[in-house]
């Protein structure tokens, strides 16, 4: 199409840009396999003898409980989001009543409340109900944090369902569960998958609630990373190894499901 820029040049340029953009990340992966002495060098070292010591060190510092907490909180809160969100999205799309747009507006507006504005009451409340430093507090908060966006996204997918088919199903006397399974589910399944993925990403990476409401028992992976800041500075190689391992689960899920992600997000925009 373009005569000035050959496709090959454009391809090379894209590759170069992409690699530059993620270079800090590639560098982090490289650093994770270094000894500490190789991590602090000027100029930075590209070639070195790789080691797995840093990863072992991360596990020695008690990484597993944090990883377990993160996994538990992420999965359970995502399941809750779907359990609460799917009926709501259904009600807001296929069976709408008066006040639908108000409800939708309300859900979205809660996303705009700065989370920091309510952190003190949350701390006090969770202390009163004995949920301080408890994974269930995080599950409750992450569910409410992700629910608005999830409802909004899923509603877009529900709007894709051909209404004629639902009406036809109703006339044939199918009840709601049957309708859901036979007609709605096939259409909206990819959308629900994309929504779940977004919830997983946001729950896994959430930092503010976790750092303020947990201590020894319920800390999630981001909190583990804070322990690497000390008065003597950071151990770069070990920090890189920890950062890599902490991010790896969502990275893998995100890579595998990136097509769903694009589709899910674009639906939100169009509908």
């Amino acid at each position: 199409m373009n005569k000035k820029l050959g496709p090959a040049t454009l391809t090379v340029a894209t590759w170069v840009l992409a690699i530059l953009f993620v270079f800090p990340l590639l560098w982090m992966i490289l650093t994770a396999f270094k000894q500490e002495a190789d991590a602090y060098t000027d100029p930075p070292k590209l070639f070195f003898t790789p080691t797995l010591n840093q990863f072992a060190g991360v596990f020695e510092r008690g990484f597993l409980p944090y990883l377990g907490n993160s996994a538990f909180v992420t999965v359970v809160s995502t399941v809750f989001v779907l359990l609460l969100g799917i009926p709501a999205a259904y009600a807001l799309s296929l069976a709408p009543v008066k006040g639908t747009s108000n409800a939708l507006g309300f859900f979205l507006s809660t996303k705009m409340l700065p989370i920091v504005a309510a952190i003190i009451p949350l701390y006090v409340i969770s202390q009163r109900v004995q949920l301080l430093d408890n994974v269930w507090m995080l599950i409750i908060l992450y569910t409410s944090m992700n629910l608005p966006l999830a409802i909004w996204m899923m509603r877009s997918f529900f709007l894709e369902v051909p209404t004629e088919m639902i009406e036809a199903g109703r006339i044939d006397g199918a009840n709601l569960p049957t309708l859901l399974r036979k007609i709605i589910a096939p259409v909206v399944a990819p959308g629900i998958a994309a929504t779940a993925l977004i919830c997983v990403i946001f729950s896994w990476t959430e930092f503010f609630y976790s750092v303020n409401l947990t201590a020894a028992r319920a800390g999630t992976v981001p909190v583990f990373l804070v322990g690497f800041i000390t008065s003597e500075g950071l151990y770069w190689a070990q920090l890189s190894a920890a950062a890599l391992m902490a991010s790896l689960p969502v990275m893998i899920v995100g890579w595998i499901a990136q097509n769903h992600l694009v589709r899910g997000l674009s639906m939100g925009a169009v509908k």
């Binding site: 008690g62 597993l64 409980p65 944090y66 990883l67 377990g68 907490n69 996994a71 538990f72 999965v75 701390y123 006090v124 202390q127 301080l132 430093d133 994974v135 399944a189 990819p190 998958a193 779940a196 993925l197 750092v211 201590a215 020894a216 028992r217 319920a218 804070v226 322990g227 800041i229 000390t230 008065s231 003597e232 899920v253 595998i256 499901a257 769903h260």
Partner: protein, 447 residues
């Protein structure tokens, strides 16, 4: 639909993970002590040695939450104040201990201490012990203690034909700083903290303020940040740093100054007595053996050094207080000092707490340049000796009132801005006076 196959896979992985990490997530076994501490070097040695405690006390497992100072303080304070009960042992300082004891948030440790003569409470340096006491009972046991003093480069003083007096005044120090300042060689006259934070720049500044006769509040809780004495002290401090201080002063704290001084980039350094350990450590310092140590400079008072200690306490809401005490006693008794000495060498021993530490020949040898000045500084650190006028709050380099963390941080930000030259000292003090008066008013109402 690839996702559908993915979900069971993920679920399986998660279940496997949570079951092996289950103990961390959902309910821990009865005898796990959760210890919240500040991640300073001496505390890390304690974590490393804590396996010995677990071996000696089967059935008690330790779990450390080790955080940088600011975060540790935030978490520990929030948890103790609301009786959150997340921690069995917390590390606090002499800023918190008396206040929290008065609030009824801490366990009185005196009965446990009295029941154990081998713990030898009389061995603690008296001023340190007093700073952690409330109504003659100890509510926290000291792990580490410090005052402030002045390190100076004997070689540079000799070259310039100067002598450090036994008890220097700030006027003399300013004069020395001007003479020793050598911008061409990259040597600053003096290194002083300019980094904001009530525990950073305000610590040295407040000792200067005290000896200049200034104060934050008078006995009627009127803020006095606009008084001539306060202004004189602030002008002096800011001017000294701006003219003869280190580069990047407004973001230099203890560690930054440490780097400057040990790399030979400053002729003098006024800071915490623990700095001597860094200065005399051949691994990190280029000026080993070149330093003399003088008491904190004065102006209108006898002494001016500060008093600070990191100590261990048990919050009222802690679940396993007996085990908690056992661990605290282990970490603060005489035997612990020996353990550190044997494992890591005498310069790694937590200083400034027990008189007996200073009797150990190995320690005396390792610390001969600074052991006595440290001990003298700590012993002399009290309000009677360090201040001109009476004040309604306890503390030397801090104000022992709960609002000071917040107030101090905000005032120190103004001070840093003045040191950076962004605003004038007058403007900084004007805004600070407003902050302080808000706090003062709340005490006026309360009376």
């Amino acid at each position: 639909m690839r996702k559908t196959r993915l979900i069971p896979l993920i679920l399986a992985a998660v279940l496997a993970l949570t079951s092996c990490a289950g103990a961390g997530a959902l309910g821990t076994s009865g005898r796990t002590l959760v210890v919240a501490i500040v991640s300073n070097p001496q505390m890390k040695d304690a974590i490393a040695l804590s396996g010995q405690f677990e071996a000696a006390n089967p059935g008690v497992k330790l779990k450390f939450v080790s955080l940088p100072e600011n975060q540790a303080r935030a978490k520990i304070t929030a948890s103790t104040a609301t009786e959150g009960g997340e921690f069995d042992v917390v590390m606090i300082s002499n800023y918190e201990a008396p206040q929290w004891a008065a609030n009824g948030w801490l366990e009185n440790l005196q009965p446990q201490i009295d029941a154990d003569p081998a713990y030898d409470v009389a061995d603690f340096i008296p001023s340190i012990r007093d700073s952690l006491s409330y109504k003659n009972s100890l509510y926290a046991v000291p792990f580490y203690g410090e005052s402030s003093f002045l390190a100076y480069r004997k070689d540079l003083f000799e070259k310039a034909g100067l002598t450090m007096p036994a008890k220097p005044t700030w006027a003399q120090i300013a004069d020395f700083a001007a003479k020793l300042d050598d911008k061409a060689a990259g040597v600053a006259g003096i290194c002083l903290r300019g980094k904001p934070g009530w525990g950073e720049s305000l610590a040295p500044f407040n000792t200067v303020l005290n000896t200049f006769g200034g104060q934050w509040f008078d006995q009627g809780w009127n803020a006095k940040l606009d008084s001539p004495e306060f202004k004189a002290a602030a002008d002096f401090y800011v001017k000294l740093i701006r003219e003869h201080g280190e580069v990047g002063a407004s973001s230099s704290g203890f560690s930054e100054c440490g780097t400057h001084y040990t790399q030979g980039q400053a002729a003098m350094w006024y800071d915490a007595t623990v700095m001597a350990g860094t200065n005399e450590d051949p691994e990190s310092s280029k000026v080993v053996g070149k330093s003399g140590y003088a008491p904190a400079p004065v102006e209108r008072t006898q002494s001016s050094g500060w008093l600070y200690t990191w100590a261990l306490a048990i919050p009222k809401a802690a679940k396993d207080k007996d085990a908690a005490w056992k661990f605290m006693a282990w970490m603060t008794d005489k035997a612990y000092v020996q353990k550190v000495g044997a494992a890591y060498g005498w310069n790694r021993v937590p200083p400034g707490v027990r008189n007996s530490t200073y009797q150990i020949p190995g320690y005396q040898e390792a610390a001969k340049a600074y052991a006595q000045p440290t001990l003298d500084g700590i012993a002399d650190a009290n309000q009677q000796k360090a201040m001109v006028n009476p004040v309604p709050y306890p503390g030397i380099q801090f104000l022992g009132i709960p609002e000071f963390q917040d107030l101090g941080t905000r005032v120190s930000q103004q001070l840093s801005a003045a040191i950076a030259g962004q605003i004038s000292v007058d403007d900084a003090l004007k805004q600070s006076q407003e902050y302080a008066q808000t706090v003062g008013n709340s005490y006026k109402e309360a009376r």
